[in-house]
Amino acid sequence: MQERDALLKKKVEDSAEIIPPEKLALLDPVIEKYQGSSSYLIPALKEAQEMFGYLPMEVQRKLAWGLNIPAPQIYGVVTFYSFFTITPRGRHTIRLCLGTACYVKGAKNMLEIITREVGINVGETSKDDRFTLEAVRCLGACGLAPVMMIGEDTHGNIMPSATLGILEGYQ
């Protein structure tokens, strides 16, 4: 259980990648479009995330300056909505439930399989940018334990041996 608690605390790691200025210039049209109205922050962030895949510090700072919205507020919004991410992610985010019910019903094995076969541990993204793995505490579907979400899809009652088969559906 201690091991599990440690896994639950692990976050997707910050990227050390620095976005070059010419790439940041891609944001100019977004800024132009949404300038002057702070109520469009969410659509602006959405577009920016579509562009870069994630919302790192430079992107947030540039939007803050351009839209004239305080950077802490942007950061507050980005960290509030699970839709936004500040670290680069794979195309699909796996949220594996490590809540007690799921853990005892096989999530532990599923984790081992993913780690071995996909080659990523909690908080990591696969080399081919296909998957990012996150551990979550109880998804509120204990009746379906073990539960795993991939993107917006929920998979329940999973036989650990079926894990890879499910992943196959996400390229």
């Binding site: 510090m57 700072r61 004239n68 305080p70 950077a71 950061y75 509030f80």
Partner: protein, 879 residues
């Protein structure tokens, strides 16, 4: 009005008041953990729940955001409510580290107090540990989010009141905490409001860590000595030394302070404080005894007076002197030195703004109270960058903008922070704000947007004014200034149609020429639209330093005696001659500009400078320096060895503002008492020095038993102070005019009419040529909120957050010059003077302008300036 009963007490309150406010009025205390009267209710803590019975039904509800209604019966302390509060407290304690014994907030923590009050027992459920960020890297302020109870007051005060939004709730659910973006250290106003509002120890002043706890400190309340808003300070002392500064929520400023007020005080403990008088001997300033120093000054001034006549002496006072000191200094110069050559820096800056007001309205001061600004529906800022110059007044505009949906109209040559508020921004070259105001007024008159009743009944001179404005059409002015005429019209309409509107001017050192046309234009506009003599209306003039208003009230000028009596006025003069037991020369003396010129041409031989640093602050540094160094005898009275003190013959060290008594008069005419915090005084209070100097110069009758005696003399001499006495000045001061013992002061001037009968509109000046030089860059001396000029530079704390050495430029200009942020540049003036700085990209700088803070002695910015000029053309080169 609604009437309700709270715990059996009947109370009648304004409609729209909350149950909590009603309870406060009824004297019933309801516990709160997320409420502050400065903030919009948030409803997070649920401690304020009460039982409300209305129309036969009883319900529980939070008192902080539910309105009081007629006939409500409110119970605040039933066993059920106590239980529920106890449970809330237990939930908070569940994840709150119980490190009270070592917490800085111990004894000053509202959570601790309530847990004690509600006798919360051992928790009946397990504790939960969560880990949040800790920030020890920010200046002044420390964050430990593990202690946070998520009341949100820090986030709200930073956004709603300060308008800074440096803090935000980040992350979600049980992981949420308060932070900047990416947990970086603060880069904000450093007002410390977040730390002062935090009910627990999550945000606190770094300087208290390991120093002492609140209850160990001995408190003294006094008045802030930086800007002219007169915020009240509570100095917390431990072992005879100030370690903490805060402000009471019952103060006029409601507990709000800016960075200077809260964290600027360490200058008083600077190692550079002068402690002993200095006398120049063989070219060097050496320490001497007070006796010797005063003796030398008396002899030298006496000898010059004897050989070259009293008018070869001159004196410069300061907006930093208390009223009492300014009054006695006035007496000393006029009756002992025997000259009217007396002035101070406010004599050309602040005075040229207030001078416009007096003949038109009656009094030379702001018409309304600072805290009324929040009620205005339109705010017109004329060259007033309040975020930097008067931060606490800026808060009022945030409140008006958000809560009253006020239009904020900014006319400025800097893209000020307030210009981003909902409203209009009209950028003008420095010194041309009056043209915009006149064209607004022209449009208002032409379109019939004026207040007819006010024009007909309360003012005179309307026809002449309308006639004088004929060339000021929005189109003509827009063309001359490169603006959009529609913007002028829209701004004019917004101001004229608003139910309440304020106009704000501030004294800044970019006002080197006569600014009275601007203040006259502002008063015309307010009068014609009827925005005067009412709450949340009027014209405000904010002076630069703490006693800007008092210095003028006390007549630190060549031509005015205390109370705005004219030197020329025979009757007034003889009244003062009787009072002061000495002769006063009949004709006005030289002003600061002429004094400095006189020093250059030898007509002024002895100069007594008290609390100013002319070498750094007066325009045209080369000539000032030349003049000062030609003086036969220069005496400087200061806390520090300023650049002027450095070339003086005698330097007399004075007490810091926190070490002395007396009164300041703020920009809202509020007379407030200073209280010395500490027995340890370095140097002497100015008042004492003046008295010993007078005695040595053969006038021992210039002597007072103390500040209160001076104040009673002031009351006898200055009509608007006539009801003021030391005893009557309470915690919130007294606002002049205060005419007799019964008068509790006047917050809003001209409510019942004007003391001069009808207000007098002033015709606009002839529209001259607007010089719009294109191509080259303009230097704009600016102010930054961390500094104020003379003593902020000696505060290690303020120098740490805002060191000198940079010039703000627009992105476009930097790109054109091939400059990057942080590049070294050389600024060369038309007069060949040059300074080296670093370029900083800034939104504040408009294209074609370079903003350089003027308050750093090192920048020597007055090398570029001159009397009467507003434009400083420069070249910028890569260095």
């Amino acid at each position: 009005m609604v009437t309700l009963t709270i715990d059996g007490v009947k109370v009648t309150v304004k409609k729209g008041s909350s149950i909590l406010e009603a309870a406060q009025q009824a004297g019933v205390r309801i516990p709160t953990l997320c409420h502050d009267k400065r903030l919009i209710p948030f409803g997070a803590c649920r401690l304020c729940i009460v039982e409300v019975t209305a129309r036969g039904r009883t319900r529980t509800m939070p008192a902080c955001f539910n309105p009081a209604r007629d006939g409500m019966e409110v119970a605040t302390n039933t066993p059920k409510l106590r239980d529920s509060r106890r449970l809330q407290l237990m939930l908070l304690l569940r994840s709150h580290p119980l490190l009270c014994p070592s917490c800085d907030a111990g004894g000053d923590c509202q959570l601790q107090n309530l847990v004690f009050e509600y006798e919360v027992p051992e928790l009946s459920f397990g504790r939960q540990s969560r880990y949040f960020h800790v920030d020890n890297d920010s200046n002044f302020i420390r964050f430990n989010m593990n202690l946070c109870i998520r009341c949100g007051m820090c986030v709200r005060v930073c956004e709603e009141v300060q308008g800074q939004s440096e803090l935000s709730f980040v992350n979600r659910g049980i992981e949420s905490e308060v932070s900047t973006d990416f947990d970086r250290a603060l880069d904000c106003e450093f007002c410390g409001q977040c730390a002062s509002i935090c009910p627990v120890g999550a945000i606190s002043s770094k300087w208290l860590v390991g120093t002492g706890r609140r209850f160990e400190l001995q408190d003294t309340s006094t008045v802030c000595a930086f800007c002219s808003l007169g915020c009240s300070l509570t100095l917390g002392e431990k072992d005879g030394k100030t370690v903490y500064v805060t402000s009471s929520e019952d103060s006029v400023n409601e507990g709000n302070l800016c960075v200077k007020g809260r964290y600027g005080w360490p200058f008083a403990y600077s190692d550079s404080r002068l402690t002993k008088p200095l006398i120049r001997k063989d070219g060097l300033l050496v320490e001497a005894s007070w006796d010797e120093a005063i003796q030398t000054v008396a002899e030298k001034f006496g000898a010059i007076k004897k050989s070259s006549g009293p008018d070869s002496l001159a004196a410069l006072g300061s907006q930093r002197l208390t009223n009492e000191e300014a009054f006695v200094f006035n007496r000393l110069v006029r009756t002992v030195f025997g000259t009217n050559n007396l002035d101070h820096a406010g004599g050309y800056a602040y005075r040229s703004l207030t001078d416009g007001l007096a003949p038109m309205l009656g009094y030379a001061a702001s018409t309304n109270q600072i805290r009324e600004i929040r009620g205005a529906k339109a705010v017109l800022l004329l060259g007033a960058d309040l975020t930097e110059t008067h931060p606490i007044a800026k808060n009022e505009i945030n409140l008006a903008s958000v809560r009253k949906k006020a239009k904020v109209i900014v006319v400025d040559s800097i893209r000020t922070k307030l210009s981003y508020r909902d409203g209009f921004f009209l950028d003008v070259p420095p010194g041309y704000e009056d043209l915009v105001v006149n064209s607004m007024l022209k449009f208002i008159i032409d379109e019939g947007l004026l207040d007819r009743a006010s024009v007909d009944l309360r003012v005179e001179g309307f026809e002449e004014l309308a006639e004088s404005l004929k060339d000021y059409t929005p189109e003509a002015i827009a063309a001359a200034l490169g603006l959009d005429a529609d913007l002028i019209k829209a701004a004019a309409t917004a101001y004229a149609k608003a139910e309440t509107g304020v106009i704000i001017l501030s004294e800044g050192l970019n006002r080197y020429r006569d600014s009275s046309p601007l203040s006259k234009a502002a008063v015309n506009l307010a009068l014609v639209t009827g925005h005067i003599g009412k709450e949340s209306c009027g014209v405000y003039v904010f002076g630069e330093k703490a006693n800007a208003q008092g210095a003028l009230d006390m007549g630190l000028t060549p031509d005015l005696l205390p109370g705005y009596h004219l030197v020329r006025d025979e009757a007034a003069r003889s009244k003062f001659e009787d009072l002061w037991k000495g002769q006063i020369p009949a004709s006005p003396g030289m002003n600061a500009r002429d004094i400095l010129k006189g020093a250059e041409n030898g007509s002024v031989k002895g100069l007594y400078v008290v609390g100013e640093n002319p070498l750094d602050t007066y325009p045209n540094r080369q000539r000032v320096q030349n003049g000062l160094s030609k003086l036969e005898f220069l005496v400087v009275q200061d806390m520090f060895l300023s650049s002027t003190a450095n070339i003086a013959h005698v330097v007399l060290p004075v007490a810091a503002p926190y070490e002395k008594a007396g009164t300041f008069t703020s920009s809202e005419r509020r007379i407030q008492k200073l209280n010395p915090s500490s027995k340890q005084i370095q140097g002497k209070p100015d008042l004492e020095i003046f008295m010993s100097l007078a005695a040595k110069m053969g006038k021992p009758e210039l002597s007072y038993a103390g500040y209160s005696e001076v104040m009673s003399e002031i009351a006898g001499a200055a009509p608007m102070y006539s009801g003021v006495s030391y005893e009557r000045i309470g915690d919130k001061g007294l606002v002049w005019p205060c005419l007799d013992d019964e008068d509790s002061g006047t917050s809003t001037l001209y409510e019942g009419g004007f003391p001069i009968g009808k207000a007098r509109l002033a015709p606009a000046k002839l529209l001259g040529m607007v010089s719009r030089s294109s191509g080259s860059l303009k230097l704009i001396p600016c102010v930054l909120k961390f500094h104020s000029g003379s003593f902020s530079e000696w505060s290690p704390s303020l120098m740490e957050v805002c060191p000198p050495g940079f010039a703000e430029m627009s992105r476009v200009d930097m790109t054109n010059l091939g400059l990057n942020d942080g590049d070294a540049i050389k600024i060369v003036g038309n007069n060949g003077q040059a300074i080296n700085l670093k370029a900083k990209e800034s939104r504040r700088a408009l294209r074609g302008t370079v903003l350089v803070p003027y308050h750093f002695s090192k920048n020597k910015l007055n090398s570029f300036t001159d009397w009467g000029s507003t434009e400083i053309m420069i070249q910028v080169e890569k260095a």
